[in-house]
Subunit: 325 residues, 2 copies
Amino acid sequence: MSSELVNIKKIKNAYNRISKYVHKTPVFTSSAADKMTGRKCFFKAENLQKTGSFKVRGALNAILALKEKNPNVSGVVTHSSGNHGQAVAWATSVAGFPCSVVVPEYAPEVKKTAIRGYGAELAECGSLPTDRNVVCDKISTEKGYVIIPPYDHEDVIAGQGTVALELLDQVPDLDAILVSVSGGGLSSGIAIAAKAIKPNIKIFLVEPEGKHMEKCLREGKRLWSDPPKYLDTIADGIRLEQPGQLTFPILTQLVEKEVFSLNNDEMIEGMKFAFQRMKLVIEAAAGAAVAAILSDKMKKMDPSLKHVAVILCGGNIDIDHLPWY
Amino acid sequence: MSSELVNIKKIKNAYNRISKYVHKTPVFTSSAADKMTGRKCFFKAENLQKTGSFKVRGALNAILALKEKNPNVSGVVTHSSGNHGQAVAWATSVAGFPCSVVVPEYAPEVKKTAIRGYGAELAECGSLPTDRNVVCDKISTEKGYVIIPPYDHEDVIAGQGTVALELLDQVPDLDAILVSVSGGGLSSGIAIAAKAIKPNIKIFLVEPEGKHMEKCLREGKRLWSDPPKYLDTIADGIRLEQPGQLTFPILTQLVEKEVFSLNNDEMIEGMKFAFQRMKLVIEAAAGAAVAAILSDKMKKMDPSLKHVAVILCGGNIDIDHLPWY
């Protein structure tokens, strides 16, 4: 079922739409990581992507697909002060659409400035998760703007899946991919693309402690209680407790049941490894994935997983407030 | 004269020797930098090079050339607790030579560990610049080890020149290159290679305030007073006041007389730009070059310099003690 909503053909179409605007990000290796893990490690550097995260792939695909279907759409709106907000703002500047981004009034000024820098209009809202939806819906209704959700949207998932298309072109003999999960847009897109290209590849999720994905995947059920909560983690890119209604069934079907759960200290160690050894600035959500591949849990995994990739999903952190200071 | 000591042929030979061991480092662009400068900016990421700096190019070329001439050499020795020390230690592990690195006893443990990690033997010395030479000479005499100097050596200069070979292959239509100068190995190698390939290209030096390269270049004279001093700068990679006896004449002949002089605050701004906007960890010596291209001085330069490259010479900093904290 899920594979009909988004499939490899849609992901390839997405790549045709977006590839001339987004970076084909490099894949780095690290002899230090290879030595520590006893495997060959590959790091897909989406932190070097436009706007500093993979999010532009899904946002741009959704917006260009929208433009194909309806060239006269009056604009788009989304709510996010984080990577998705910047990505939508950037993508609309590419597509030539007006754009509103709803952000909580307490959002850091630097993030508001970045969103405005791409030409988007800011709409402030209160601090409750539900406030955002109210303001977003209001703008959509009043201005006729189309809402671009952060993950639960087939064109967004297809866009994020292009990370795996590229990665498997760059490193065809991969045995596994480790990817951080929040709403599940990136991980489900990657799972669909990678499994279609290479059915035996294994996709492992990486999460902040407290998300309990492993239990939900094993039981094939959403065991979270509503209303949706934020996790208590330094990784603001992956602090959603619950994946989406579209993405969770895809994950249940395609990814490994075994999940890497990381705490703040471990994420910081992952970030520091990337900074110090690889000279790459990554955010905590990506630090989690690095920590996962360097973890004891990984050491105990099937030794036939020889070539393992980690998605460095983003690099948007405030360098004046690094979490280890 | 200088162009006979090292020429483009020697630099191409160096590239043939080292290219299968070192990274062909990527060249990054930044739309933020382009907007700020009104030019197209290119960033050659030698911070992503093996051991975290360009220094491996010169060290490996010198050591492999030595091995060609004398396969039975008993080992090599150098003195440096910094990037050159790590580079020589790494290069000897590639070449299969024993290696001693002389470091001052006060050098940070992390640097000593890195050097030992490449299999080199550490020899500690006192804190005066002259102490290092004494210990280095002693080891050379006692063990028959060949001294690999950090910059004043034709094979080292030729190795560093391969940065420009690669860069002009990656970005053929460059108009200028900005490069930080300390002993002058990198800058003289780049000047020889770039000017041979593209005689009209302009090479600009970047220095910490107080080095007074511009005056010396304009007068064509070494105006520094002996003994050699260290500059008071956060950029430990470029704190030598005086360039070398071999490199200075090359620079006098080939680089622009106009020099970019940066203070600590400006270097920090350059570092922060790379961290925040480009997601790259760079050391202060590279931050100086980034600050130079973003400077008011650059803004006033000839507008026909449309495509300008900056060498990100290294990324070896202690991330627990970043200079803006």
